[in-house]
Symmetry: C2
Subunit: 250 residues, 2 copies
DNA sequence: CGATGCTTTGACGAACTTCAACGCGGGTGG
DNA sequence: CCACCCGCGTTGAAGTTCGTCAAAGCATCG
C-alpha cells in the first residue's frame, strides 16, 4: 500500500512513514537495502518544514551535523570565492543528497538555498555513521553516492575546462532532462527553477552569453524557451552538441 | 624502531612493515587510528612493484577492485571525453588516495599513469569495506577523505569557471607548493613532474598559454622557471594573484 | 650528431566578456 | 483594476583574453 504518492505531502512531516513509502526510493540513499534496514534508517531521519523559495538550508560555516536528501523542490548550492564572489556548485533535485562535502571540515563549505518551495529529509551524520557500522548495505550505498558525486564533479570539470558556451548549456539541459525523466517527469518539457544568473555562474559564462545561446538554440529549432519554461524539440541534436569534439592540442 | 625512512624502499615491498612505519602516516588513510587498528589495516594492504614513468596503474574501464595510496612519486589521472580527447582530472602526490570515483560504476572511469617512478599501496576495496564495519575510525576517515576530495573538486570548479589563465596557474603552483611543504619538501623550490601539456589540459588552457603565463610570471620576478624546475621568489604575491577578484556579474 | 619531442615565442582571429540600453512581466500600491 | 516600478532577461556594439597556426629553440636519446 502506498500512502504518499509524491514526497511533497507536508502533513506527513515527522510521521513514521518514510523511505519505504517515498517514491524516490530507487534514487536516494536507501538503494538496495532490505526492509529491516530501511526501518532502521527511517528511525534516524528527520523531516523538517519545507523551505520557501530563497530560504537557506545552511550557510557557509554552519556546523555540520547532518546530510540532507531533497524530497521535493530543488536546492542550489554555492560557495563564496576568496574574492567575495560566488560559485554555484550544483543544483539538487528530489532524491539527491547534499552536505557530503562538509564531513571533512565539520562545517559547511558552501551554502544551500531553496530555488522553490522545497522539502527535505535530514539525516544526522553521527547516527548515520553508527548505523553504517551495522548495516553493510548502507555503508556501501553511502560510499557509492559519494563516489557518484566525485564522478559528476569530474564531468563538470571537463565541461568547464574543455567546452564552449553552446556545449556547456547543451550539457546542462541534457543533464536536467535525464534527471527529470528518472523522476517521472517529461524529459523534453520542464521548468527551470534557477535564474539565468545561476546558470551562467554554474557554467562559468556571462549571463548575456547564456541568453544568447538560448536564443541561438531557439533559432536552430532545438528548443523553445519562454522565460523559465523549456520545451526541447530536438533532444538528439542537443546531445550531439553537448558531446561535440572540442579542438584540443592532441 | 623505524626501518623505512621514506616510502620508496622497494626491497620492503610486501614486507609486514607498513602504515605504522610510513612517514605519510598523517596525510594518508590511517589518520587518527590506534595502533591495533593500524595493524588490521596493514594486514589488508598490498604493496606492488613501483611503476615506471608512463606506466599505467589502471586504464579506463579496468574493473574496480582496490583503491590506491601513493607512497612515493606521483600519478596523473585523466579521463577520456566523449569526443575522443582527454581531460586531466588530477595530480596525486605521496599520501593521497586514488580510485575512489570508481566505487559507483565498479570500474575505473579514468586512467592513472605514473609521471615518474612511483610506488603505491593497494587497498582491496571489499576488504576495506569489511574492515570499516569493525573500525569506526577507519570508516570515518574514509568518508573524510572522500569529503575532502569533493571539496577539492569544487575549488577546481571555481578555478575553471571563474578564473583567468594567470589565476589558474598561480593557484596550481600554490597548491603544489602547499602539498610539497606538508610532505617535508621546500614550498618554493620544486620539480614539476607533469608536462606543460598536462598542466594546460588540467587547467583548461592551451599549452602556449601556460608557457606564456610562466614567462610573464618570470618577467615579473614571481618565480624562476627552468624547464621543469620551479623556484618561487614571491609566494605571497602568487597567492594574491591566485585569489584575485574576477569580474563577475554581481 | 641528427632526430624527436617538448617548450617557447609571435601574429592573427574567434569566442566570450563587458558595457549599455531596452523589453517584458509580476507584484505593489493607489 | 490599472499604472508604475523593479528585477530579470534579451539584444547590440566594442573590447579583451585566449586559442590557433606557424616556426624556431633546446634538451634528451638513440
Amino acid at each position: 500500500m502506498v500512502y504518499a504518492v509524491n514526497g511533497d505531502i507536508v502533513g506527513l512531516e515527522q510521521a513514521g512513514a518514510a523511505c519505504r513509502e517515498c517514491n524516490l526510493f530507487q534514487l536516494c540513499l536507501p538503494v538496495g537495502m532490505g526492509s529491516d534496514e530501511l526501518e532502521e534508517l527511517d528511525s534516524i531521519i528527520k523531516r523538517r518544514r519545507p523551505l520557501k523559495r530563497g530560504e537557506h538550508l545552511f550557510h557557509v560555516g554552519t556546523p555540520f551535523h547532518a546530510i540532507y536528501a531533497v524530497r521535493s523542490g530543488s536546492i542550489r548550492t554555492y560557495a563564496p570565492t576568496e574574492d567575495g564572489h560566488e560559485q554555484v556548485t550544483g543544483f539538487r533535485l528530489p532524491g539527491e543528497l547534499l552536505g557530503l562535502e562538509a564531513i571533512h571540515l565539520k562545517q559547511h563549505p558552501c551554502a544551500a538555498m531553496a530555488m522553490e518551495t522545497t522539502s527535505l529529509c535530514e539525516i544526522p551524520f553521527e547516527r548515520l555513521e553508527e548505523l553504517c557500522l551495522r548495516l553493510p548495505g548502507l555503508q556501501h550505498q553511502l560510499l557509492t553516492v559519494m563516489s557518484k558525486e566525485l564522478l559528476q564533479d569530474q564531468s563538470l570539470l571537463m565541461l568547464l575546462g574543455k567546452k564552449s558556451a553552446e556545449e556547456r548549456l547543451a550539457a546542462l539541459l541534457l543533464s536536467l532532462s535525464e534527471r527529470y525523466q528518472r523522476r517521472g517527469f517529461s524529459p523534453t518539457d520542464f521548468h527551470l527553477s534557477m535564474s539565468r544568473n545561476d546558470i551562467g555562474n554554474y557554467l562559468g559564462m556571462a549571463v548575456e552569453t547564456v541568453s544568447r545561446v538560448f536564443s541561438r538554440f531557439q533559432e536552430d529549432a532545438l528548443l523553445i524557451v519562454q522565460r523559465k519554461h523549456i520545451c526541447i524539440l530536438n533532444l538528439p541534436q542537443l546531445a550531439v552538441i553537448a558531446s561535440r569534439r572540442v579542438s584540443d592540442t592532441e
